[in-house]
Subunit: 130 residues, 2 copies
């Protein structure tokens, strides 16, 4: 598919799709007319990228993560450098930290909303009975 369709299906602008390519996150084939030709699988990959960017990861890191994120893990055996492994382990830790932080805050918000909403409904009741 071409860039327009991919943009539409992922909600990611054409501009950004080209940017991702420039950052070596995706590498679409080129048609004879030099149009980019995306594969079906790029839809998921782009959504993946979008999610990670949205979660605060820079393209530099995402680029390193992507190779190990596709379902049929094609690339496990060949030359995985120790530095690559170390990088992944480091990023794994940082992901865990992020997750923990976000979870903590999500829970805090939940607590807060629970409290507010319960107080609020109590107030409504007392007003109804007064």
């Amino acid at each position: 598919m071409r860039i327009g369709e991919l943009a539409e299906r992922t909600g990611v602008s054409r501009r950004l799709l080209r940017y991702y390519e420039e950052q070596r996150l995706i590498t679409p084939a080129r048609a004879l007319n030099s149009y980019r030709e995306y594969k079906e699988s790029h839809v998921d990959i782009v959504l993946q990228i979008k999610g990670l960017l949205d979660a605060g990861l820079p393209t530099r890191i995402i680029q390193q993560l992507l190779p190990c994120l596709d379902k049929p893990q094609t690339i496990y055996v060949p030359n995985v450098t120790p530095e690559m492994i170390a990088t992944l382990q480091r990023e794994q830790v940082r992901l865990a930290e992020r997750i923990e932080c976000l979870t903590r805050n999500r829970d805090a918000i939940a607590d807060y909303l629970d409290t507010v909403l319960s107080v609020r409904s109590a107030n409504t009741e007392s007003m109804a009975t007064s």
Copy 2:
């Protein structure tokens, strides 16, 4: 405490502490000489801010979350507008999405590392026995 100490204790630069203030995330008192005066509690708050920023939340949103994130929930009862509640609920959803995305990827990395490391150790063994 003054800005230098807070910077040191949180690992957040003075520049950024001033920036957070400009964005209304923190509001330190001022000494007679116009020096900023931070309270002990600001250490945790700043760490909180740092974590959320790092997780991809913009200051605009963090500003809205902060009021409901301090432990002794002082502000639950008074005028919580319905819009505020709606905002929080929306952000809660977005946090959950981020968490899910990050968790998925952390797990994928874990799987990948497991695979790579096990293959790798198998190779080592076979080489040892050859």
